[in-house]
Amino acid sequence: MFLGFNFSFLEKYSFYYWDGLKVTLQLSFWTLICGTVVGVAMGLLRVQNHKTLNVIIDGWINFIRGVPVMVQIFIVYYGIATTLPAFWAAVVSLTVNSSVYIAEHTRAGMQAVNKGQMEAARCIGMSKFQANRYIIIPQAIKNVLPSLCNEFILLIKDTSIVSVIAVHELTYTSNTVRANTFLAFEPLIVTAVLYFIVTYVLKKLVGVLERRLHAHD
């Protein structure tokens, strides 16, 4: 007993949480990697100012942003990737969803770099590629890191939605605990604290990175 709450179920059910947490972390890890790669690539293509490409990318971003994540997951799992295991169907749909936001952050971060930086780089004979690589992108990374961190936290929390296609991640397993113990509050509080710890650790890690990048400002 703790403040009148009953947490004794943890003795018997804690491994449910561990298993769920592991799946949540794996989901988050793969989505974060794939979403960042796809999103950054999309954002970099977007700032090339290629007319047709811009229309396609903007259309895609607007479409994905306008559809609920849960619907996207259903579409991928039941409609498109029907042979894919639920876990990977979840990774695919979460990647699609988070990558469009990451693309927008990337675009904004690139466009926020002063235009004079590119001009100065071109004036000493750098190609556009070199200017991007050595001058623009390093500055853009600094710009996007805070919003990217926010995006990663949203992404981790969004993984809870994939419980609807029976991926045994943290939300799913804690729901099982809730059903087995006939307790509503305590099992979900444990879940909430675990999500919080994961996102808080991530935020702290990004904070360290940010401080390092800003060491010279």
Binding site: A120, R122, I124
Partner: protein, 252 residues
Amino acid sequence: MTNTTEKNNGEVIIEVKGLKKNFGHLEVLKGIDLQIRKGEAVVVIGPSGSGKSTFLRCLNLLEKPTDGDILFHGESILGKNLKIDKYREKFGMVFQLFNLFDNLSVLDNVTIGPRKVKKESKEKAEERAAALLKRVGLGDKMDAYPSQLSGGQKQRVAIARTLAMEPEVILFDEATSALDPEMVGEVLQIMRKLAEDGMTMVVVTHEMGFAREVGDELVFMDGGYIVEQGNPREIMANPQHQRTKDFLSKML
């Protein structure tokens, strides 16, 4: 005066012919003709909006001319098979707002061009950069970052960065306009030294004293045209056109 005569006999390295530039419907340059000789300091003056900066930016193709031609050593730079990066390497540019690379230290700002564009070794590039930074009086700031420098110091680093590429011509786009008055001198002094050392320069400026003392050729622009051009002292003492007179009377 002998110096000027010598320079006037120098080889023409840039020849601008009927240069025009429009931004949409706005005609900024309406037909510019100008020759720039080796070792010459050409000073361009004129009221705001007269097209001075646009003209400068056309010379290294930061803006693409709408019409006309620019010859560099007798060869058009507007041809399709021009390697634009190779061409820009030979043109240094110093900006009004410095445009130092904010993510790099002072030393790296100066070495990144030689290292990445000219593929020089790190040691060689750093050795030269150190010498250049010493020359502009910033030998002790090599590890600083742009955000830690004053405007005058930034502009001096920008000049060192440009010199590191060993350009044939340096374009100065109002290099002192964004500086506090007490910092203008230190930058002008370096520019004057460069001109004395025989660097070919095109200088857009509002510093009339500099124009008179350092310029070999003065170009007065207004409304997208070159209105008057010639020896700076003669023009300032005895301008031929009414618009030049009006402008100079406001500036001097």
